[in-house]
Each structure stands twice: as structure tokens, then as C-alpha cells.
């Protein structure tokens, strides 16, 4: 079965990122094998697949977070704007500033205020914005929570509800003005209403950012994504336009998965 997606959108779409024969290992297991796929600019790319298929590992390779795990290694390459992010001269810290990440479990800094949470990425990078208030308002507005947070900027991040915490994490990520945002099952710990809000947000953010989202929920992938990749056992099985993949999958494994026969 060819892993080169026949339904990859043709130009004028711009390839923002590209995995080239990407492999990833943990000390005791191989997580990814030979992944080659583009990530298209200003599109939402969903990565789906059963637990343990390597989808989270895949996006963690896109901002060099995989190697943070002790003993974890990668092979192959990942390009950002045509340039390798794994080159020997590349600083992973710089990659992570351009390719932001939102995690499965909301992880705002619990005792930091909402305001400081938004600014934390800048502080971590030693940047002192000329007008922090503008940064905070802009990031929270983009994360669709300025109106509900404008009077609670001094509340600790940990006191917010799960959905608010996750949007705060998105705002924190946006404040760094990344180009790509990776989301690792961002709604898996949220209730349906909070989930709907995040999905709306993803839809809006596409205008300005390139988004890759890992999700457990096929409904969510179908709702939010333009392109969908199906991973199975560490390999890319099928990748293409979301509506095509969900209605006319080419690979029998994809069909079995999306019709709920396994996973």
C-alpha cells in the first residue's frame, strides 16, 4: 500500500511543513516508521488512529518535543518552510517558538495569573514586550476568551475551568506568534460545550495559523479538519482531504477504522 497520498491537494497550496521518511523510537519501542507527508499552510490537518498508533509522537516530532523524553530518538527529517528542523545547526528552542503546542491535559501554570500565563512564553524567551497589556488582550481575544477573562486577569490559571484552562493554553501559545500550532487531543479532558468552543476556535485560527491536531474522535476530525491522516501501528496508512477520507477511504484499514470496526 502506497503511503504517498494520491489525494494530496495540488498547488497553489503551500507546504508549510513536511515529514520526510520520519521515524521515531522510544528506548523500548518503535513509535513511527517512514512517515512522509506534507502539512499545508493555513489548513487544519487532523491526525487520527487508534491508541498507540504514533499520532501523538508524530506531532511531537514536528516541534522537537519527542526528544525531550529520555532515550527517545528520531530518524529521517522534518522540514519547516523547506528547511530541516533537525539539522545540526538548528536550535530546538527556536523551532518550538515557531511551532507551538497545546497538550492533551490543560497545563496552564497553576499559580500564575491569567495575565502572566499569557506572557509566560515571552518571559521564558527573555522577551519583554513594550506593552504587555496589548499582548495579553490580543492573545486572549484570539483565543476567544477576552470577554470572559478581562476582569479576571489576576486569577490564578489553575482556578479556571478545564475548558478555560485549555483556551488559556492556546492563548499562551498564540502570544508567541507561532506559525504552526500543534494540538495533542486538546479536547479529550473537556466536556462537550468546552469542546465545541475549542473546535470553533480552531476553525477561526486557521486564517492565521497552520494547525495540526491529533484527535481520538473521528467526528471531531471530520468537523474541524481540511485534511486528515490516518495512522496505524506507527505508519501513515492514508492521507487526504477530510471529506474524501471519511466518505471514500482507499485503504481497507482506514475504512474499518472510520466505520468503527476496530480502534
Amino acid at each position: 500500500m502506497s503511503t504517498v497520498p494520491p489525494s494530496t491537494p495540488p498547488p497553489p497550496h503551500v507546504e508549510k511543513m513536511r515529514a520526510e521518511n520520519l521515524g521515531a523510537k522510544f528506548p523500548d519501542a518503535v513509535a513511527l516508521r517512514g512517515i512522509t507527508m506534507p502539512v499545508i499552510e493555513h489548513k487544519v490537518t487532523a491526525v487520527i488512529g487508534p491508541s498507540g498508533c504514533g499520532k501523538s509522537t508524530f506531532i511531537r516530532c514536528l516541534n522537537r518535543m519527542h526528544e525531550v523524553v529520555p532515550g527517545a530518538t528520531t530518524s529521517g527529517d522534518v522540514l519547516l518552510d523547506g528547511k530541516s528542523i533537525y539539522g545540526s545547526a538548528v536550535d530546538p528552542v527556536g523551532v518550538r517558538r515557531k511551532v507551538g503546542m497545546v497538550f492533551q491535559k490543560p497545563n496552564p501554570f497553576p499559580e500564575m495569573s491569567v495575565r502572566d500565563n499569557v506572557l509566560s512564553g515571552l518571559r521564558l524567551n527573555g522577551i519583554r514586550p513594550a506593552s504587555p497589556d496589548v499582548v495579553v488582550e490580543a492573545a486572549l481575544t484570539q483565543a476567544a476568551m477576552w470577554d470572559e477573562m478581562r476582569d479576571s486577569l489576576d486569577r490564578p490559571g489553575g482556578s479556571l475551568s478545564g475548558g478555560q484552562q485549555q483556551r488559556l493554553c492556546i492563548a499562551r501559545c498564540l502570544a508567541l506568534e507561532p506559525e504552526v500550532i500543534l494540538m495533542d487531543e486538546p479536547c479529550s479532558s473537556l466536556d462537550p460545550i468546552a469542546t465545541a468552543r475549542i473546535e470553533e476556535l480552531i476553525h477561526d485560527l486557521r486564517e492565521r495559523y497552520t494547525i495540526v491536531i491529533v484527535t481520538h474522535s473521528m467526528q471531531q476530525a471530520a468537523r474541524v479538519s481540511d485534511l486528515t491522516a490516518f495512522f496505524y501501528l506507527g505508519e501513515l496508512v492514508e492521507y487526504g482531504l477530510a471529506d474524501v477520507l471519511f466518505t471514500r477511504p482507499e485503504d481497507p484499514r482506514t475504512e474499518e477504522y472510520i466505520t468503527g470496526r476496530f480502534g
Binding site: R96, F109, P110, P156, S159, S161, C173
Partner: protein, 329 residues
């Protein structure tokens, strides 16, 4: 069919009875266990109060003779029955503060190395080493102080040559003893910072050091403070090693190179020979003061930590916050 149903019903009833019996014995067991635990906890308080009462009773003569002047008196002269505790309080506090000032930066750095920055392969062995050092008997440190450190410091006295035993020697030995304690506790505190917060910092483009500085340390503040206080507590109460190297001279000197004395040391040195009732009573009062200072100090430290944690907990209340379940604004 109905017969079967009856049998089933009977079986169910039996099962219920058994479950009830189990539940009852479980409840009894839990009650007994709780009672024992309560007793054990209460006995701690009783012990502390008994200790306090005993020391208070024994030191009554001294309290009656010297009054509050005891705490301010600078003279300790058993031969002429003049007793003032200030040199000991001064010595205890100065040596502990100095020890802490020396040990704190070192202990903190070791903790950071073991918990965060060191190469993964060396972290385990270094951590084990730190714990081993924390468990070395204090007399060993004292011997090192007498045999190695004191000769090094010999001749540094402000008033001509001394034996090298001095406030400085005591502070250095104490620092050496307190450092592993501080490092070991701080390491555990740093390791307890949730991994997902570190990941958040890393994904935001923080280097290891930046994540440590802006995420891990702020999150661990209360625990780091508690580790410091633990170290201080150990320094205040340490007797053996200090007695061996401080010089045991009940004088208040501005020079760190001059010998000094601590409350714990004077108790260890003089209690066995205190035949004069007033002398013994004065020693009991020193012990009482040491106990009170230590207890107050610990209460204060716990208070600070608890207040910090409560503030944190208040900010971390779960449950839906306003606006979350309502309509989209």
C-alpha cells in the same frame, strides 16, 4: 422456573448477609484502627507537653533566682553561681545562621544538579551520595572538624593564636552536615513538580535553565522554603559535632575565629557534672529555652508553608468557573 428464581433469591440473600457481616467487621476494624492511630497521635502531643512541664518544673529555681535576666545575662560562671544564657543563644543562632548561609546555595545547586541539570547517568549516584552524607553520624563530622578543619584554622584567632576551634569551625562543620539534608529535600521537592508544567515551558521555547527558573522553581517555592527550615532546625539542635569544634567558651565575641558555645553543647557538657542544684536548674532553663525556640520556629515555618499552600489551593478550586457552562459570550 419459579423454583430456580427462589434459589437465586436465597443465594442473593446469603450473599447479602455475608456482605453485611464483612461490612460490619470492616467498620469495626476501621474504628479500632482509627482509635489506635488517634492514641498514637495524641501521645506525641502528651510527650511534648510532658517534656515542657518537666523542664519548666526543673528550671523553676533558676527562673525564680534570675528572672528574665537569665536570657540577657552574658555571664555563665558555675563556680560563682552566676548564670546567664545569652552566650548560648547567641552561639546557637549565629552558628546556625552562618551554617545555613553557607549550606543553602550549595545545597540548592546540588539539588538542581541531581533533579534537573545533571547528565541522567550521574543523577542517580550523586543523589544516593547526598542521601548517604545526610545519614553520616554527626560525631564523624565532628572528628573531621577537630582533626582537619581546626588545624587549618589554627592561628587565625583575633586575640593571638588559638586552637582553631571556633565559631567559624562550628559553622563550617554544621554547614557540611546541613547541606546534604537541604539538598536531599530540595531534590524531592523539585522532582515533585508536575512533568506537564515542564513540558509546557519547553514547548513554549524555554531552555532547560529557563524552564527551571520560570516554571519549576516558582512552583516549588513553598517546598524549597520548608527544606531550608528543616536544615536550620537540624543546625539548631546539632550537639555532638558542634561541641567538638566550637571551643566551648561562654563568651560573646564579635570574632568568628574566637571560640563560642551553643545551648545544645553546654547541656551535653555540663549536665552530667552539675551537682549544684542552681547550676542544674539553670541548665534545665537553657533546655527549656531551646525547646521553646525550636517549637516556635517550627510552628512559624509550618505556618508559612501552610499559608502558601492554602493560597495555592484556594486558587486551584475545581468545579465549573463562571461563564464556562453558560452561553457563549
Amino acid at each position: 422456573m419459579s423454583r430456580n428464581a427462589n434459589v437465586n433469591a436465597n443465594a442473593n440473600a446469603n450473599a447479602n448477609v455475608n456482605a453485611n457481616a464483612n461490612a460490619t467487621s470492616g467498620v469495626v476494624f476501621a474504628r479500632v484502627l482509627r482509635g489506635i492511630a488517634q492514641l498514637a497521635s495524641a501521645s506525641l502531643l502528651v510527650l511534648l507537653l510532658a517534656l515542657f512541664a518537666y523542664l519548666a518544673k526543673q528550671s523553676r529555681m533558676s527562673v525564680e533566682v534570675f528572672g528574665l535576666g537569665f536570657l540577657a545575662g552574658t555571664e555563665w560562671d558555675p563556680l560563682h553561681a552566676r548564670f546567664g544564657a545569652l552566650p548560648f543563644l547567641f552561639g546557637t543562632i549565629l552558628s546556625s545562621v552562618l551554617a545555613l548561609a553557607i549550606a543553602l546555595p550549595g545545597g540548592f545547586l546540588v539539588a538542581i544538579y541531581v533533579a534537573e541539570l545533571g547528565p541522567r547517568r550521574t543523577r542517580g549516584p550523586v543523589g544516593a551520595l547526598v542521601e548517604m552524607l545526610a545519614a553520616v553520624p554527626s560525631v564523624v563530622y565532628g572528628m573531621w572538624g577537630v582533626l582537619v578543619l581546626a588545624p587549618l584554622l589554627r592561628g587565625t584567632g583575633a586575640r593571638g593564636p588559638t586552637q582553631g576551634v571556633s565559631m567559624l569551625a562550628a559553622s563550617l562543620v554544621l554547614a557540611l552536615m546541613v547541606l546534604p539534608t537541604i539538598a536531599a529535600v530540595m531534590r524531592d521537592v523539585l522532582l515533585a513538580v508536575p512533568q506537564n508544567l515542564r513540558e509546557a515551558g519547553t514547548a513554549l521555547g524555554g531552555t532547560r535553565w529557563e524552564v527551571l527558573r520560570h516554571v519549576v522553581i516558582p512552583h516549588a517555592r513553598a517546598g524549597l522554603f520548608a527544606a531550608t527550615m528543616l536544615g536550620f532546625g537540624r543546625a539548631v539542635g546539632e550537639t555532638m559535632a558542634v561541641t567538638m569544634v566550637i571551643g566551648n567558651s561562654a563568651e560573646i565575641s564579635a570574632s568568628l575565629f574566637a571560640p563560642g558555645y551553643t545551648a545544645a553543647s553546654v547541656l551535653a557538657n555540663e549536665m552530667p557534672q552539675a551537682s549544684d542544684p542552681l547550676h542544674a536548674s539553670a541548665l534545665y532553663e537553657v533546655a527549656l529555652v531551646l525547646l521553646v525556640v525550636t517549637v516556635l520556629f517550627n510552628l512559624g515555618a509550618h505556618g508559612v508553608v501552610r499559608r502558601y499552600l492554602r493560597r495555592k489551593a484556594a486558587g486551584l478550586s475545581t468545579g465549573p468557573a463562571e461563564g464556562e457552562l453558560g452561553p457563549s459570550p
